[in-house]
C-alpha cells in the first residue's frame, strides 16, 4: 500500500497531453489509465470484448449473405407495415431506432445530473431511459411474433435465402438480450440513486463497498454501447 502512494501523488502533477501523453501513460511500468477509475476502465474493456462478439455476428451474417446462391429477402419489404392505409417500408425499425436514440439522450443527461448530485433528476431520467428501453424490447417482441407468424424460421422463410432467419434471430436476439439486461441494470442503479445511497455512502448489498455517482456513468457507458450496436445493425442488416 505504501509503495502505491507516491505513484498516486505524482498523478496529480499535470500529465503531458496528446501523443507524448499517450507514450508517457503506457510506458515506465505504471498505471496506464490515469484519470479513469477501475470501474470505468473495466466497463470499457468489457464493451471492447462485446464489440468483437457483435462484430463476429455481423461478419457471419455478411459471409452467409455474400456466399448464398439464392436471393436475399428484401428487408425493406419484409419489415414494412401498413399504417392507416399507407405502405411504409421499415417503419417499425425506424421507430425503434428513434426510441433507442432518445433513451441514449435521456441517459446522457442522467449522467450529467448525477455528477451535479441532483438525485431526483438523475433517477427520473434513468427511469425514463429504462422505460424507453423496455418499449424497444416490446416492439422487438412484436416484430419477432409478426415474422414468426409469417413463417420465418432459423432454417427458412417464404421469401428467399434460408440464412436470413438464422442471421436475423441471432443478431437481433442477442441485441435484445443486451437491452433487457441494460433495463434491469438501469432499474437497480436508479433505485440506489433514488434512495440516496451515493449521498449517504450506504454500503452495497453484495460488495459492501460504498458507491458513488460514477456508477451512473458506467451504466451509461453500457447503455450507449447498446445504442451504438443498434446503429450498426440498423445500417448493415436492415438498410443494406
Amino acid at each position: 500500500m505504501n509503495e502505491i502512494v507516491p505513484t498516486v501523488a505524482s498523478a496529480e502533477i499535470a500529465r503531458p497531453a496528446g501523443w507524448r501523453g499517450f507514450v508517457a501513460d503506457w510506458s515506465s511500468d505504471q498505471k496506464a489509465f490515469r484519470n479513469v477509475s477501475w470501474g470505468k476502465a473495466m466497463m470499457w474493456v468489457f464493451l471492447l470484448s462485446d464489440t468483437f462478439i457483435f462484430g463476429s455476428f455481423l461478419i457471419g451474417y455478411m459471409t452467409v449473405r455474400m456466399s448464398t446462391v439464392v436471393p436475399w429477402p428484401n428487408p425493406s419489404e419484409v419489415f414494412a407495415l401498413e399504417i392507416a392505409g399507407h405502405h411504409l417500408p421499415l417503419i417499425l425499425i425506424a421507430i425503434m431506432t428513434f426510441v433507442l436514440i432518445s433513451s441514449s439522450g435521456t441517459m446522457a443527461m442522467a449522467v450529467n445530473f448525477g455528477y451535479r448530485r441532483d438525485r431526483r433528476k438523475t433517477a427520473i431520467l434513468m427511469l425514463a431511459t429504462a422505460l424507453l428501453g423496455a418499449t424497444f424490447v416490446g416492439m422487438q417482441a412484436f416484430e419477432w411474433s409478426k415474422l414468426i407468424a409469417e413463417g420465418v424460421r432459423p432454417w427458412g422463410n417464404p421469401w428467399g435465402a434460408e440464412q436470413f432467419g438464422a442471421s436475423f434471430f441471432m443478431i437481433t436476439g442477442f441485441h435484445g438480450t443486451h437491452v433487457t439486461i441494460g433495463v434491469i441494470f438501469l432499474l437497480i442503479i436508479a433505485r440506489k440513486v433514488w434512495r440516496g445511497d451515493f449521498d449517504r455512502e450506504r454500503r452495497g448489498f453484495f460488495t459492501s463497498r460504498k458507491g458513488n455517482y460514477e456508477i451512473v456513468e458506467i451504466t451509461g457507458l453500457y447503455w450507449h454501447f447498446v445504442d451504438l450496436v443498434w446503429v450498426f445493425i440498423f445500417a448493415l442488416f436492415y438498410l443494406w
Binding site: 470499457w44 446462391v69 455512502e201
Partner: protein, 119 residues
C-alpha cells in the same frame, strides 16, 4: 477511512473535465442523431441503390457511431491512453471482414461451379 475516501471523491469529481458539460450539448447531439437517423431511413424510403446507397448508409452509420462514442460516452475527453486502447483493437475486425469476403467469394464460386442445379 470514510473521511479520506469522501474527500478523495470530492477532489476527483470536479477534476474530470467530462462531468460538467451544459445539458445543451447533449440535446444538440440528440438532435443530430435524429437527423442522421432520418437521413438513413430516407435512403431506404426513396429506394436509392448501388454505390450511392451503400456510401450514404455507411457515412450516416459512422457519423452516428462517432457522435455516440465521442460525446455520449465521453471518449472525446478521455486521455489518449484509454481512447487508443479501446478504439484501435476493433480495427482488427476490418481485417476479419477482408478475410471473410475472400472466403465468401470462394464459397459462392464453388457453389456455382459444382452445386448449381443442372450443371
Amino acid at each position: 477511512m470514510s473521511g479520506t475516501t469522501s474527500t478523495a471523491v470530492a477532489q476527483t469529481a470536479p477534476q474530470g473535465e467530462t462531468q460538467h458539460h451544459p445539458i445543451r450539448l447533449y440535446l444538440v447531439v440528440w438532435g443530430w442523431l435524429f437527423i442522421l437517423s432520418t437521413c438513413s431511413y430516407l435512403v431506404d424510403y426513396f429506394g436509392l441503390v448501388g454505390y450511392l446507397r451503400w456510401s450514404l448508409i455507411l457515412i450516416f452509420m459512422m457519423a452516428k457511431a462517432g457522435l455516440i462514442v465521442a460525446v455520449f460516452m465521453h471518449m472525446a475527453w478521455e486521455r489518449l491512453a484509454l481512447a487508443y486502447a479501446i478504439l484501435l483493437p476493433p480495427l482488427a475486425l476490418l481485417v476479419f471482414v477482408g478475410i471473410m469476403v475472400f472466403e465468401s467469394h470462394y464459397t459462392l464460386f464453388s457453389r456455382l461451379a459444382f452445386f448449381a442445379p443442372g450443371s
